[in-house]
């Protein structure tokens, strides 16, 4: 089981998966990251990160049903495992610990 901290992109992807719950697939995850983080992402990068997270047991993947608007191709639906949730909390704790006591970082981002 992986005990490492997540990279910023992996953290964003896993949080986007959580926010989309039962409909977390390439399009919804990429749109979530673009909307909330204001960051343009490629779908291939999202899949690359998610495949790595699946290999490490931090996420799971299953195929949905093919749909006409996707040219008859199935969605690959992702969900976060218990180990994934632990990794998110661990990463957050590490960031928060680094954050504390830094006067430069007080106030809202702008």
């Amino acid at each position: 089981m992986s005990e490492r901290l997540l990279t910023d992109f992996e953290l964003m992807v896993l949080l986007a998966v959580l926010r989309n719950r039962d409909d977390a697939y390439g399009v919804s995850i990429a749109r979530e990251i673009e909307a909330t983080a204001g960051r343009s992402v490629t779908h291939a990068a999202v899949y690359l990160a998610l495949d790595r997270l699946v290999e490490q047991g931090l996420a799971t993947a299953r195929l949905g049903d093919p749909t006409p608007e996707r040219g008859g191709r199935a969605k690959k639906l992702f969900s976060v495992t218990a180990a994934g949730l632990r990794a998110i909390r661990r990463t957050r704790a590490a960031f928060v610990a680094l954050w504390k006591g830094l006067p430069e970082l007080k106030g809202s981002p702008s």
Binding site: G26, A30, T42, H43, T67, R73
Partner: protein, 211 residues
Amino acid sequence: MRTLPRFATALLVRFGPQEEPLLGDLVEEYAAGRSRAWYWRQVLAAVALGAMRNVGAHPARTVIAIAAGWTTAMLVFVLAGDRIADGLARWLWAWDRATAYQTGEWWPFWITSSALSYGVFALSAVVVARVARRPAGPVLVAYAGSMVLVLAASAVAIDVLTRMWGRVPVPHPLFYVVSVALPFYWRAGLVLAPAIVLAAGGAAMPRPVRP
């Protein structure tokens, strides 16, 4: 439904990661109004990331396939390069090397040598496609990348050495590799060589499951 950019889709299907849901995502996004430029960017990223991922997942297989390609190319250039390039120029334009040294008339050799270079690059790509197990597409992309790297590095090295010492003698087998990236060929090899590798290797690959 909007028609997908055909060439970009063919590139993704042949050389990208074998990931049906990824193509489904791009189809869905493009149908929802994303631009052609967005689609192309997604395809190029998928092809590049797919190749990098494949190299990481199967390093030995990738290295063996790429080495087989370069070995094929170098063997042909070493064993038969001059014979083929000179022979073709003689057959087409009654050209010969001894006279060219006196008259300075090298254009027939430049034409046949660059044709030989590209022909052998294509042959080596077929070898790479055959040696690489499925999926061969990402391995071919890595081979094309290695070609751009070698051509660019040798072009820079020759430029620097020429500035330092004037004319730089290049051994003939190497000449067939690097010449297409030199100024007198407009450095066209930096684009044409990888394009030919992908086209020839792609044609030698088994057909993809679904376009």
